[in-house]
Amino acid sequence: MTTIACPIPAAATDRVQLGHGSGGKMSAALIRDRFLPHFANDVLSQLGDAAVVDIGGQCLAISTDTFVVQPLEFPGGNIGSLAVHGTVNDLAMMGARPQWLAAGFVLEEGLPFDVLDRIVAAMADAARAARVLLVAGDTKVVERGKADGVFINTTGVGLRTPDFGPAPARARPGDAVIVSGPLGCHGIAIMTAREGLAFEAEIVSDSAALTPLVERLRKRVGNAVHALRDPTRGGLASALNEIAAAARIGVVLDETALPIPGPVAAACEMLGFDPLYVANEGVLVAFVPEAQADAAVAALRSHALGRSAVRIGRAVAAHPGMVVMETAIGGTRVVDMLPGDQLPRIC
């Protein structure tokens, strides 16, 4: 028997590439191959947005995140507010009420104090609004050129009660898939600020704490909220793929229902990006049983952040682990995780 193999050799990777930070398949492989073998334990292996540990009846949720965004300041926020929202949201997605934050700052020699002051002030405002206390911190300074202005790590601790425990693995066939707001704003705001692109309508990052939305879901539908995720790095497509894999369900999206603002769609067309893979920092996706879906949408819409909450699809038993989309034109396509970074197209 002859086997036909394309003789162009696959490029072997012997070091870290930028794609390993994309939130796509390369990121997943980095964690799976380089970190989990050393650190594996029952808590870490859940790979949720936050770890949940039981300390005698009370559940603690713990999450950590590092922020390396460029530019440091962008329409709708800065790296400081983002560092609070990102970690607070990771806790909220596990159903925890965020309580405390610790922050580490890597400062680059030469960072102007007025920039630093604005970042720290925004961070404090964001923490106040999210009702979390910053209770520990650390600073380090590195030589010019060894960091990009400032890097911030935040670690958050929250409390979780046993009556509310959304988790990716709890999503079930028959669940409705709901998003709380317009998609793609954060990633495109950063991209346009970075590339110095100007569009007719300014695109503002959606960076916000999602805790009020989660509170409303908890009050209205309680533990019927099967899974929550904030589709940050890697976008909605990656978040849905992770849930589909964790719960061994299929997801069917309705392209016509996706809330993609016109300016985001236009920017994506121009830049050659797919909005499904663009980062969000103030949107959540929820899996809720069909019978409670209307109540969940109403609960989200009762808060300003969730005003445009909408059903975008459903969980099914077919094609477990796979996300497919019914296109506006009447066809179907697979919405896979990206291998690495989205690469802009030639033409």
């Binding site: 086997t3 036909i4 193999a5 394309c6 003789p7 162009i8 050799p9 696959a10 490029a11 072997a12 990777t13 070091r15 870290v16 590439q17 930028l18 794609g19 398949k25 390369m26 590339e195 016509t256 016109g262 769609a265 236009a266 067309e269 830049l271 050659g272 077919a318 094609h319 796979m322 497919v324 296109t327 506006a328 034109i329 009447g330 066809g331 179907t332 396509r333 697979v334 896979d336 990206l338 291998p339 690495g340 690469l343 802009p344 197209r345 030639i346 033409c347």
Partner: protein
């Protein structure tokens, strides 16, 4: 979105599908030339909706896919030099060369930057006079005018640390080569709308006449492509073989004259190898003698790099439309977007990547 959502209307699409089915008395084989069209077709499931009356074969119009391995290896050698900032359109970064890709060169310390326009690369050269800035000038007639403009401006401004690694190709010689091949099955073409926006369609008239094939200049949105298919099917059913223009909102018969003038002042026709297809005479663009100073292949010593195209690679059959990606034994197994074996799996315009990203569901159920 204005000027886009109108061309993605499901109701109109269904009407066009019905019209195509009513017009066809048999199954016709059409080729869409451009990779952007391939993606729309597979992403929207158009081939599936019309499978009983049209077989779509996916043409060689993916600039990333057809850039020869030797040029990729030259790009990698340039990018690895400490004195060079290598600039490129984004999707060239993951194309495998003989032993690595540009992303890996960057991880090893090479300065590799994504730019959206060659003029950005020229600007970078002006801002960093102590570095050599090289731009990877690939693509069809669509990208040629902007690339020509960058070289023209570099000469005008005397930016002597700017150069281009040229691997431009043109569509009509590739179409002719496909039609002349003994195993050709293609009965009609959807020509690439954006190439024709620049070049017009006069070059296609002798091809349509000689090979008796309808050629429909077609856009990139779902309704464009469905309408292009309808026009091609009608011609085939009526025994006509003309050049028709579906993409009237963008294309004129004579194209964009100033852009063509600029291209012909900076570039001239040269023989070019196509990855997976092989050499096609007078199918590429190279810099004219008076711009030779901006030719990276002349500025840097790349003479030692000679890579022969692996003759047995199936990517060539995919690019010629003889093999469907699903039918390649490596598809989705040894060859995936994370570990591409051939270029069509890399580029978002490549036929294999289009099938992998959007079509696996269909093959699975």
């Amino acid at each position: 979105m204005k000027y886009l959502s109108e061309y993605r209307d499901g109701r109109v699409a269904r009407a066009l599908v019905a019209e195509i089915k009513a017009a066809a008395t048999r199954r016709w084989v059409l080729m869409e030339v451009c990779g952007g069209q391939t993606h729309t077709i597979v992403k929207q499931g158009l081939d599936e909706m019309l499978g009983d009356v049209i077989e779509m074969v996916h043409g060689p119009g993916c600039p990333v896919c057809v850039t020869p391995l030797e040029q990729i290896d030259k790009a990698l050698a340039l990018a690895a030099r400490p004195d060079v900032i290598f600039t490129s359109f984004g999707d060239m970064l993951r194309v495998p060369g003989s032993d690595c890709d540009l992303q890996q060169i960057r991880a090893r310390g090479g300065a590799v930057r994504i730019v959206y326009s060659p003029l950005d690369a020229l600007e970078l050269a002006r801002k960093t006079p102590d570095k050599q800035v090289v731009f990877f000038a690939v693509g069809f007639e669509t990208t040629a005018p902007a690339n020509a403009m960058a070289v023209w401006r570099a000469k005008e401004l005397g930016v002597d640390n700017f150069s281009v690694l040229v691997s431009h190709v043109t569509v009509p010689p590739a179409m002719t080569a496909l039609l002349a091949a003994p195993d050709n099955r293609v009965q009609g073409f959807l020509a690439a709308g954006h190439v024709c926006t620049v070049m017009g369609w006069t070059e296609y008239e002798p091809i349509a006449a000689k090979y008796k094939v309808p050629i429909v200049v077609t856009g990139f949105e779902p309704l464009d492509i469905l309408e292009g298919m309808l026009l091609a099917v009608r011609q085939l059913e009526e025994g006509r073989h003309e050049v028709e223009n579906q993409y009237v909102r963008s294309v004129r018969r004579d194209g964009n004259q100033p852009a063509q003038d600029l291209v012909s002042r900076v570039f001239e026709l040269v023989d070019r190898s196509w990855r997976g297809i092989g050499p096609i005479p007078r199918s590429g663009l190279g810099l004219r003698e008076e711009f030779a100073a901006f030719d990276a292949e002349k500025r840097f010593d790349l003479a030692g790099i000679h890579t022969t195209e692996p003759a047995e690679c199936r990517a060539g059959d995919v690019l010629r439309g003889v093999l469907k990606p699903f039918d390649c034994p490596a598809f989705g197994k040894a060859c995936t977007p994370e570990h591409p074996l051939g270029a069509p799996m890399v580029s978002s315009e490549g036929a294999c990547a289009a099938y992998y990203n959007y079509g696996r569901f269909r093959s699975a159920v």
